[in-house]
């Protein structure tokens, strides 16, 4: 008996270390693209998670310095592939402001409608993918069904399904028609009915709640030190949204709320995004009701010269604050274009946020950030 008990005590005299390194990615399914997280592990606990970036790096900022600024337009849709239209929006709005171009009211409405549709699509994708990360296969089938409805609507007017290049300086490249309006209204009605399905399938799902509640809590102080924005920030109870705080386009004309969470955990970030779909629907509904007639594209000189100097334009992308910071030396090629993308700053909290977590909680915390890797890598 005595010998057996002795054997149960840890063998302190033998050097033993449970630490090991685990590579999550770059082809791991829950990293959504080519992100690698180098995990220092102790058993099932994460000691130090360090994201390794750059697998999808294309040096977009260098490309911007090498061509006429209008020619960079398609690139803007190739960073955040899940919600490209806000990227279009920030870019054209920046040049419209510095070059003093008036955008017709109808064009601004179309921009808001399509951007919000794009935001909904992005949140659909996220809800499906997040649940898939955590082992729930079914929700993505429902969200993708809904997502397809919107993609069809957007495809009709933009000509593409994913990497949109729809906005132009002075407006948009194609007008929306009655068919678009009709289909969008039908989608709004359909989506409102679908929330019930989401709630039954996900929101009240005890496994989902247990996996996400209290996981990955981001405090206000942490958010500020890292520059966290978007639904990840709003989940922590901070109602910061560029559409409200720094209004652009015709957003001030619409009545909508900024949903916020209370605890700042993964579950709150889910609730925030779910509510944001409803708020986007409200914006679209109002915009369709008020949609003015008139031109959809202003007459813009073929060769536009940028004024010398720097300027900045921020928009609310689906993942948070997107800022284009332009430095111009005159002419029509940007001297420098810094693109501040939301996922980059959001992901940078990961080492501090997930230290000491179980590996499965890291998946729930990282999944709730809604990462788009080509946006981070640019």
């Amino acid at each position: 008996m005595e010998t057996a008990q002795q054997n149960l005590e840890p063998a302190t005299d033998i050097p033993h270390d449970n630490r090991y390194y685990l590579n999550m990615g770059p082809q791991h399914p829950s990293t959504h693209g080519v992100l690698r997280v180098l995990l220092e592990m102790d058993g099932e606990y994460v000691i130090d998670p360090q994201p390794v970036l750059g697998y999808g790096h294309r040096m977009q900022e260098k490309m911007a310095e090498h061509k006429n600024w209008m020619a960079f337009m398609p690139n803007t849709g190739r960073m955040d592939y899940a919600a490209a239209l806000p990227y279009n929006h920030g870019y054209v709005a920046l040049f419209e402001r510095i070059c003093g171009i008036e955008v017709p009211a109808r064009a601004e409405y179309i921009r808001v409608i399509t951007s919000e549709l794009n935001r909904i699509v992005s949140h659909h994708l996220w809800i499906g993918a997040m649940l898939l990360d955590m082992g729930a296969f079914t929700p993505i089938l429902y969200t993708f069904d809904d997502r397809e409805q919107v993609l069809d609507i957007l495809e009709d007017v933009t000509g593409s399904r994913l990497t949109y290049c729809y906005f132009r300086v002075g407006g948009v490249c194609k007008d929306i028609d009655d068919n678009f309006v009709e289909k969008t209204r039908a989608f709004i009605k359909r989506q409102r009915e679908r929330f019930d399905v989401y709630n039954k399938l996900v929101t009240g799902n005890i496994i989902f709640i247990k996996r996400t509640e209290g996981v990955g809590v981001i405090s206000l102080d942490m958010a500020r030190r890292y520059g966290v924005t978007g639904p990840v920030l709003r989940g922590s109870g901070i109602a910061y949204d560029v559409r409200k705080n720094e209004p652009y386009s015709v957003y001030p004309k619409f009545d909508f709320d900024i949903p916020t969470g209370q605890n700042g955990d993964s579950y709150d970030r889910y609730l925030v995004r779910l509510e944001e779909i409803e708020q986007s629907l409200r914006i679209i509904e109002q915009a369709l009701d008020q949609l003015p007639d008139g031109p959809f594209l202003a007459k813009v000189p073929k060769k536009l010269k940028m004024p010398t100097g720097d300027s900045s334009f921020a928009v609310e992308a689906a993942r948070g604050e997107l800022t284009y910071y332009l430095v111009s030396g005159g002419g029509d090629i940007p001297y420098r274009l810094k693109i501040r993308v939301p996922s980059y700053s959001n992901l940078s909290v990961l080492p501090e946020l997930c230290q000491g977590m179980l590996l499965s909680d890291l998946v729930a915390a990282m999944g709730s950030m809604d990462l788009v890797i080509p946006e981070i890598d640019r």
Binding site: L53, G54, H57, M59, E61, K62, E65, H66, K67, L94, R97, I98, G100, A223, R224, R225, Y226, G227, V228, L233, I238, Y240, N245, E246, K305, P307, T308, G309, D310, S311, S312, F313, A314, E321, T323, Y325, V327, S328, G329, G330, G331, D332, I333, Y335, R336, K338, R340, Y344, S345, S348, V349, E352, D377, R378
Partner: protein
Amino acid sequence: MHPATEKLVTALSEQSIVLNECDYAERGYHFEIDLDAGRLREFAQCMLEQEMYLVFVGGLHVDPAIEIIYQFASYDRLCRLVLRVVVDSNNAIPTISDIYQGANWHERETRDFYGVIFIDHPNLVPLILAEEDVDLKPLLKNSDNIKESAAVRWVTVEEQPETDEKADTD
């Protein structure tokens, strides 16, 4: 002006930091600041105390030296400011990654793209570029297309120079 913004302006003036007020409607931010590298950390500390968050850190290669651009903004009011700091003769500048941890990645990225050394950075290894591309510095301008620092500074519309076609050709 928002009371918190006034407080920020006062706090910076007390440290005798000169703020240039900008026309937000033209440029999308409210204040621009040029600062010596030696005062950068003190400035960042002040930003944190004034509850500003870090938007981004980026580089700008101009003649005579690389400038590092910092943008800060606020979660609760409309206030955005841009800070420019010129690197020293060794292409070095102090890190602020211990004050704003988010700067850690931005500084690593800036080192990738410009080769700027952030003094006392805890982990200044390539982030975006591959390790073998450590000396690539892709955003450095060459002698043909580099501009003077003053040539990329904001000038009001009335002061805009006449169109210079030569400068535009690639």
